[in-house]
Amino acid sequence: MQKTFKIITILFILLGFGQIGLTAEKELLGAGATFPYPLYSKMFDVYQKEFGVKVNYQAIGSGGGIRQLINKTVDFGGSDAIMSEKDQAEAGGPILHIPICAGAVVITYNLPGSPQLKFTPDIIGDIFLGKIKKWNDRRLQEINPGTNLPDMNITVVHRSDGSGTTFIFSDYLSKVSNEWRGQVGKGTSLKWPTGIGGKGNPGVAGLVQQTPGSIGYVELIYALQNKMPYGMVKNKKGNYIQANLKSTTLAANTALPDDMKVSLTDTDSPDGYPISGFTWLLVFQEQDYARKSKEKAKELVKLLWWMTHEGQVHAEPLHYAPLSPKAAEKTEKLIKSISYKGSSLIQ
């Protein structure tokens, strides 16, 4: 009895450890944003079928992606939030923000009849500040004259986890509302004045779906996939814009810095959707850390290159805006600057 037990134990340990040599190089680990998760999930599935490399991406929120990258427990982090100075300093080495696509943060809501509503920046701010409490508030009714808004309480739904979607949304609100900027500010985890929290984009979508009279912010694809209504938002030039591929692409058509760390919110473009944002994959510029092999670093760079070139075809069907030629050019430069022991990993 004891002998068999010993043998089984040894077999299992061998099995477990034996796998290391075989598969370690062909696997990449990533974590972070839920914003682009539908796209990444599709991309990684295709990539695995084509190249045999498994990419395990867990959508735990941008905050999680940043933290796990700094802790060096993942190969890359997904984030729609630009890393703060503090986080950059803690990371110990420069971290590149590789843009993959642009998306839109839409205002989705749960009302009987799912009417198509319009929102202005100050109204959005005041709803999420808790100052506008009812759906049939005078200001909402004013800009939605054709719709009979019900006498229901507004339940705000926000993120309970650290989120890049929150970052984009609060970045926008900080630009259009002085009160928001002063009281709440922008970040991945905020001190929300009101509302309940859902985990990840899916969590917020789920709560809005189930709670009558609720309002929340999610990436466009989550509203589309779940057939939830979302509002048109008045942009800087005074036009009411519906979030879609075109309006997101227009918002992304702006001056791009070399490091691609740019915010797309409150766009100047007349037909651009004002609450848009890039989503990035974060990687260390110098890949020689934590006993990482050169092969693995090469696989990572190959993945990044594929995602920003051939992989881009998967963006449009899922309503994400692919990288513009200008953006792609800057991105290529960034990827080429990823090095292992100083020398570039890609020609």
Binding site: A31, I60, G61, S62, G63, G64, G65, I66, R67, Q68, I70, S84, K86, D87, E90, N153, T155, S160, D161, G162, V184, G185, K186, G187, T188, S189, L190, K191, W192, G195, I196, G197, G198, K199, L207, Q210, T211, P212, G213
Partner: protein, 300 residues
């Protein structure tokens, strides 16, 4: 003679080795526990140093400004646990009397006992799942009829689910305690003509009182640490709840939500400090409860 001495010394050696091995196993557990305490303390030290005692009175949890106060979660934890405890006592005390007095053996007893064991065996995440999809809509209907915001999630829902989860635990504790009441005490009362109810009222419960209180403490300890089911139905709001239907967060649920992404060391340390508080409080309650029951068993 030489071989015999050799053999005996070998035996003595193997015995010594074995005894040492056993003692080592015992020490191992102690070391693990101390290591856990130590780790929690060290990791939360930056927060302890920064906020000091004001950590517990601070009601702001603001990761943007690195201001962390635990009061909302202390209140959320207390509110859900106490409410859950109150609701569960209504059911667990009858169960324990049922199994401890009325039906101690036989078919009905086995049936109820098995059902209670099954109830205890359902994983927490399934309770949360069921709570989100069945209880939350029901609570939403209730809230609509009361004119309160129809969130469906919040302290009330979390307490209901939590109550169902701790019923088996508190019931088995109470039953254990009730069975500790000496038979001769009960028989004396019966022989004086008391009814079942009167024996329960006037003999069993007073005698088992401290044990039942211990059971309450232990159940409270269990409820405080419950994570998954609560996280899924509590509404995830980092501010002090102001009504029974408010969304809130408990110590356990805020850790589950925010741990993987605490992006700077004060944030992380604050979360670990919450874990430390959880650890200390549950340890205190558990130790106290077990000590009371132990004393009761020893004193009979």
């Amino acid at each position: 003679m030489n071989m015999q001495a050799e053999h005996f010394s070998k035996v003595a050696n193997s015995e010594n080795f074995f005894r040492k091995l056993l003692s080592l196993a015992g020490v191992f557990i102690i070391v693990i526990l101390l290591a856990i305490l130590f780790t929690l303390f060290i990791s939360s030290f930056p927060a302890i140093r920064t906020f000091g005692i004001y950590f517990f009175s601070g009601s702001t949890w603001d990761p943007v400004r690195s201001e962390f106060g635990a009061l909302p979660f202390l209140m959320g934890t207390l509110a859900t646990s106490l409410l859950a405890l109150a609701i569960s006592i209504i059911f667990s005390l009858p169960i324990s009397i049922f199994l401890g007095e009325y039906f101690t053996q036989g078919g009905k007893a086995t049936f109820i006992k098995s059902m209670i064991e099954l109830l205890a065996g359902v994983p927490s995440v399934i309770y949360g799942f069921w709570g989100l999809f069945v209880m939350a809509p029901l609570v939403r209907k209730l809230e609509l009829s009361l004119g309160v915001a129809p969130l469906g999630v919040g302290i009330f829902t979390a307490s209901l689910i939590l109550a169902i989860m701790i019923i088996p635990y508190s019931a088995s504790l109470a039953r254990e305690v009730i069975s500790l009441v000496p038979a001769d005490l009960k028989e004396a009362a019966y022989s004086l003509g008391a009814t079942r109810l009167e024996v329960i009222q006037k003999v069993i419960l007073p005698y088992a009182k401290s044990g039942i209180i211990a059971g309450i403490l232990l159940s409270l300890g269990r409820a405080l640490g419950e994570t998954m089911a609560v996280t899924m139905v509590i509404g995830n709001r980092n501010s002090i709840p102001n009504s029974i239907f408010s969304p809130a967060n408990t110590l356990a649920s805020i850790i589950a939500n925010e741990f993987t992404e605490a992006t700077d060391s004060i944030y992380l340390a604050s979360l670990v400090e919450l874990a430390l508080v959880l650890f200390l409080v549950t340890t205190f309650l558990n130790t106290l409860g077990k000590w009371i029951i132990h004393r009761m068993a020893v004193n009979r």
